[in-house]
Amino acid sequence: MSGLNTELVPVLRRGFRFQWEPAQGCHVLLYPEGMIKLNDSAGAILAEVDGQRSIGAIVADLSARFPDVQGIAEDIMVFLEVARERFWIEFR
């Protein structure tokens, strides 16, 4: 299990912007001179990262919206860890 404290609040790193790109049909993360195309689950998780909600709240929300997905809490935690390692997000 991931070591993240669920009370932490994830926030996009300064200069990173998350948005939907119709031409590419996916969410992307934009940053200085770069762009990361996100798959559906990464897009769904980052859409919840608003600098207000805690990890716990995000997990609760996504679990309620996708009740059929097994192990969703673990997936979210793993993704957030990776996103932090890559310096896309920070925790407050």
Partner: protein, 384 residues
């Protein structure tokens, strides 16, 4: 706008959208870098698109799918309408990047751009070499200005990319350069050995570092990367080597007309910012829609796919990886843009690259022998 007329689209080759739009707003610039990538004859090209024309370009490119927009030049700060252009681009949904030398920047303008929605400012330490040396010696007003602006950029909440163009006369100071960038809290640092186009090609003998210089610089950069990683430091160091020390060419622009769309000050659309030198006719945004330009124009289809390749590329199993390298480099060095990029060890012209390496070892040119990019030199070189 005229969209009628023939399409040069290649059957079976449908390009993706132009994700990157580079707006070269002007060729005007207060500096005279001897490695400037602007065309040698920039002095002959003083025409510039109007504010409304630029905004229309942004709108059309965004519609095609462009997400990143770079304001560059010349020095984009000399455009009095820059704030207006930033605001329009941001409203269209672009991630907006200002690529500047920092000369002409002030804290008021930084704040004004932020309010207009500018996402990021890249300060290029692209000054004349004596100034670079002054920087490293810790003096000089121009550098005091750059340093002050770098601090102001961070203060106003932007992410910051610092770009250092390195060459044989400053690359040995790489450690100082990295330390300075960390001190300034840069988020990304580009340590880019100058690429040999435009003025840099003219000055190559005075700029190309030796292999030993490069290896040392790369080793130091790697040591710093390890140090930063160990501290969990978010600063990312990007090291760009000149392809003159490679045996295979770079996959130039990720393929001709595949991602990147450059618009020059007068509205000429190019698949890369040095392509204007090629004997290829490129369309203008004042005459055609960007959709036509990207998908159907002759210029943008000229080197798509691989049916244009002669040997050795034609029968090479690596052609999907590097697309035969850079067309501009092939043209500059061999006189024929269809040829394999001479960086490739399989090219019959690879000897030119070996000669340049030898020259870097044995007969380099001094700092005082560089031709500086200015109107006078441009007119002299391009007198026709």
């Amino acid at each position: 706008m005229n969209d009628s007329g023939s399409s040069f689209a290649k059957p079976g080759h449908i390009p993706g959208p132009p994700l990157w739009l580079l707006a070269e707003l002007t060729y005007r610039c207060p500096l005279q870098c001897p490695y400037c990538s602007n065309p040698l004859d920039f002095a002959k090209q003083s025409e510039e698109l109007t504010t409304a024309q630029w905004i229309e370009v942004f709108r059309q490119a965004r519609e095609l799918g462009a997400a990143q927009l770079g304001f560059s030049g010349g020095e984009p700060l000399v455009r009095q309408d820059l704030t207006e252009l930033i605001r329009a681009a941001r409203e269209l949904g672009y991630y907006t990047n200002l690529i500047t030398s920092g000369i002409g920047l002030s804290e008021e303008r930084i704040a004004e751009f932020a309010e207009a929605g500018l996402d990021h400012i890249q300060i290029s330490f692209q000054a004349a070499d004596e100034e670079v040396n002054n920087l490293l010696a810790g003096s000089s007003k121009a550098f005091a200005q750059k340093l002050a602006m770098a601090r102001a950029v961070k203060k106003h909440g932007y992410p910051m990319v610092l770009n250092f163009v390195t060459h044989r006369h400053n690359i040995d100071n790489i450690e100082r350069i990295i330390e300075l960038c960390i001190e300034l809290e840069a988020d990304f640092v580009e340590l880019a050995t100058c690429q040999f186009y435009g003025w840099a090609e003219l000055n190559r003998a005075g700029l190309l570092p030796t292999k030993a210089q490069l290896e040392r610089a790369e080793r130091i950069t790697n040591e710093w990367r390890a140090k930063l990683a160990a501290q969990g430091h978010p600063c990312k160091l990007i090291f760009v080597t000149p392809d003159y020390y490679e045996e295979r060419p770079k996959a130039c622009m990720n393929g001709w007309g595949s991602l990147f769309l450059d618009i020059t000050p007068d509205g000429t659309a190019l698949p890369c910012h040095s392509a204007k030198m090629l004997p290829v006719q490129f369309p203008k945004v004042t005459e055609h829609s960007l959709k036509h330009i990207w998908y159907d124009s002759f210029g943008f289809n000229r080197y798509r796919g691989d049916d244009w390749m002669p040997e050795p590329c034609r029968s090479c199993d690596e052609k999907d990886r590097d697309f035969g390298g850079c067309r501009c480099q092939a043209f500059m060095l061999t006189g024929d843009a269809d040829n394999a990029d001479p960086v490739c060890g399989k090219s019959q012209h690879h000897g030119l690259i070996l000669d340049a390496r030898r020259q870097a070892e044995e007969a380099p040119k001094g700092l005082d022998e560089l031709t500086h990019r200015n109107v006078h030199a441009s007119q002299l070189i391009c007198k026709s």
